[in-house]
């Protein structure tokens, strides 16, 4: 992972943020990662407007508590966040959402105990997240090696592409 960088918290959420909240079901007929970002948090109307009006810089952070991404397997929930180049910092994640994020290259930070409010500036590194307003630092839990390997390959598509090419060559 790259060196540390600074970014602002643009949305602060609680526990059990569902994939229905991230990407409402009524937009699920839209599937392509190039088209899903417009519906990111569509029911959080003001945040969605700021995204579409270009008011949220790439690398901005969504902070949440526990079990972020609970619910459906819809990959749109990961691709819409990735499309705006958002970073999620949460205590932990629901399994399928975490895997989808790893597969698509959406940056998730597993940060138990994170305390931050909307507007706070954070410093993020591979090891820790520091809240520059409060001065508090929270340790980051690394991804398990099996998932990190997919991140390091640039996502699941390049990872599988390599396997497919090797298999045909072998």
């Amino acid at each position: 992972m790259s060196a540390s960088y600074r970014a602002r918290v643009v949305l602060r959420l609680g526990d059990d943020v569902s994939t229905d909240a991230i990407y409402p079901g009524r937009f699920m007929a839209t599937v392509l990662p190039t088209e899903t970002p417009q519906y990111c948090f569509a029911d959080v109307i003001e945040f969605n407007r700021r995204l579409r009006d270009g008011e949220v810089p790439p690398g901005s952070v969504i902070v949440a508590d526990r079990n972020f991404g609970t619910g459906s397997s819809r990959e749109q929930a990961a691709s819409c966040l990735k499309g705006w180049d958002l970073v999620v910092v949460a205590n932990n994640y629901s399994r399928i959402f975490l895997q989808n994020a790893v597969n698509l290259g959406l940056r998730l930070v597993v940060c138990p105990g994170i305390e931050a409010s909307e507007g706070d500036e954070l410093e993020l590194s591979a090891e820790a997240v520091t809240n520059l307003r409060t001065g508090a630092t929270f340790l980051v839990e690394p991804l398990p090696p099996a998932r990190q390997a997919i991140v390091d390959a640039g996502g699941l598509i390049p990872y599988i592409r390599r396997r497919v090419t090797e298999a045909r060559a072998g």
């Binding site: 059990d16 569902s18 229905d20 909240a21 409402p24 079901g25 009524r26 699920m28 007929a29 839209t30 599937v31 392509l32 029911d43 526990r66 079990n67 609970t70 619910g71 459906s72 397997s73 819809r74 990959e75 749109q76 990961a78 932990n92 629901s94 399994r95 399928i96 895997q99 989808n100 597969n103 698509l104 398990p144 090696p145 099996a146 998932r147 390997a149 997919i150 996502g155 699941l156 598509i157 990872y159 599988i160 592409r161 396997r163 497919v164 090419t165 298999a167 045909r168």
Partner: protein, 430 residues
């Protein structure tokens, strides 16, 4: 060290003698299911082959199942075009287990797979739908995945970099009280575990209450295991599994049940006496917000929904029909019924169940998922309240973030429909 059912299945599928929770394996996939989101899988699948000079061919067209159920018949030109592209792909790749929009073989994927005999004990099943956990009811390891994971499976025939999940053993003993059943048990368990209590883990179900449950009830329990975060809910196969597959799904090949070892290691063991469980209701807006029906009794309801991949099977419809026969759905309450498959729909027609429901004022919808996730009919108005037998009540779930969804059993839902308010089914002698 002994193995759980999940560990045994993953070891066999990965070609090794033994695995333990936390190890990384690459299990071969026996069945790979998608619905309309096959359109996205196709996009990701094509990308895998970009620049390789290789032709994009699926690894085994007989092991892929595609079932249209989320938006049927298509509600917009966009959906219809997606479905058309999937049909073309199915034809080009020679995919055999394809269930199109038709009263001949159509329905919801989590009913079509079991009733078609596609899922057998010991299989590794993956599906681009979180409720793929349903198929653990047949003693299989069934995992919900995203579209890109599925594209990888289409290419390689295996899942890669899979961490073997640990298991929670749930032992449900005792006898269900009157008006209480599998849906109440799983809601109660989700309330106990919380929405993330089984995240990254498998729930393995044991005990006399589970053994005594029909396959239909086991499908309910495994379907909603994912609402506690579980990778899969598994009921180890037994005589009932074999009976269902032989008699109802027409399976003739030999089958082999997978049972856990006596010294299998579980992360946790939970014992539940089902005789102590009351009819349960999950309140808005999380599935783990569960309590006995008495806590919410009298809550006015604008819409009752019976059906979905959770509770749209023949016994569910029969339960509702028995309550509604000769009665009327309360004025001011709408009642929608979604059978889980066309086979169930036709059987319900033949048995007079549909006539009973329609006679009471219920609307019979075609089998599908649409209403449950708010994408195809049955949407709620601002401030409205629904009581549903479906599996999720997240904010916005039934198409409106300003509405509320409560979850309960088919019996509780049907009794409540008569009163236009959430009602304890025990008061009706149900």
């Amino acid at each position: 060290m002994g193995m759980t059912v999940a560990e045994k299945i993953l070891a066999r599928a990965s070609g090794v003698a033994h695995v333990a929770a936390g190890e990384v394996v690459e299990p071969a996939v026996d069945l790979a299911m998608s619905h309309e989101n096959a359109a996205l899988v196709m996009n990701q699948f094509a990308q895998i082959y970009e620049g390789t000079g290789l032709k994009a061919r699926v690894w085994d067209p007989d092991k892929i199942a595609i079932v249209f159920d989320h938006r049927v018949p298509a509600e917009t030109a966009k959906t219809a075009t997606n479905q058309k592209k999937v049909r073309e792909f199915v034809a080009a790749q020679g995919i055999t287990k394809f269930h199109d929009i038709s009263a001949d073989g159509g329905g919801i994927c989590h009913q079509i797979l079991p009733e078609s005999g596609y899922v057998r004990p010991g299989m590794v099943v993956v599906g681009t739908d979180s409720h793929t956990s349903t198929h653990g009811a047949l003693g299989a390891m069934a995992i919900g995945v995203g579209a890109t994971d599925m594209a990888g499976v289409w290419a390689l025939g295996r899942m890669v970099n899979v961490e073997v999940p640990g298991s929670i053993k749930v032992v449900a003993d005792g006898e269900f009280g009157p008006s209480v059943g599998p849906k109440d048990l799983i809601l109660y368990l989700i309330g106990m575990l919380s929405a993330e209590g089984a995240n990254f883990r498998v729930i393995e179900f044991h005990g006399r209450a589970v053994r005594g449950m029909s396959l239909s009830g086991r499908l309910v329990v495994c379907n909603m295991s994912v609402e506690a975060g579980a990778t899969c809910g598994i009921v180890p196969a037994d005589d009932e599994t074999v009976r269902y597959l032989r008699e109802e799904a027409g399976v003739v090949d030999p089958m082999e049940a997978v049972s856990p070892d006596g010294d299998a290691v579980y992360e946790e063991t939970l014992e539940i006496d089902v005789s102590r469980i009351e009819p349960q209701v999950a309140r808005p807006h999380t599935v783990d917000n569960v309590g006995p029906v008495g806590d919410v009794e009298g809550t006015r309801i604008d819409q009752v929904v019976i059906g979905s991949c959770t509770n749209g099977r023949l016994d569910d419809l029969e339960t509702a029909a028995a309550v509604l026969r000769g009665n009327r759905v309360a004025k001011g309450t709408r009642m929608l019924v979604f059978p889980a498959s066309w086979r169930i729909y036709k059987e319900a027609l033949a048995r007079g169940i549909i006539a009973d429901l329609v006679g009471a004022g219920a609307i019979i919808m075609n089998p599908g998922c649409g209403c449950c996730l708010g994408v195809h009919q049955g949407a709620l108005g601002d401030g409205e309240v629904a009581l549903a037998t479906t599996n999720r009540n997240f904010k916005g779930r039934m198409g409106n973030p300003d509405a509320s969804v409560y979850l309960a059993s088919p019996l509780t839902a049907a009794v409540s429909a008569l009163h236009g308010a959430i009602t304890d089914p025990r008061k009706e002698g149900g």
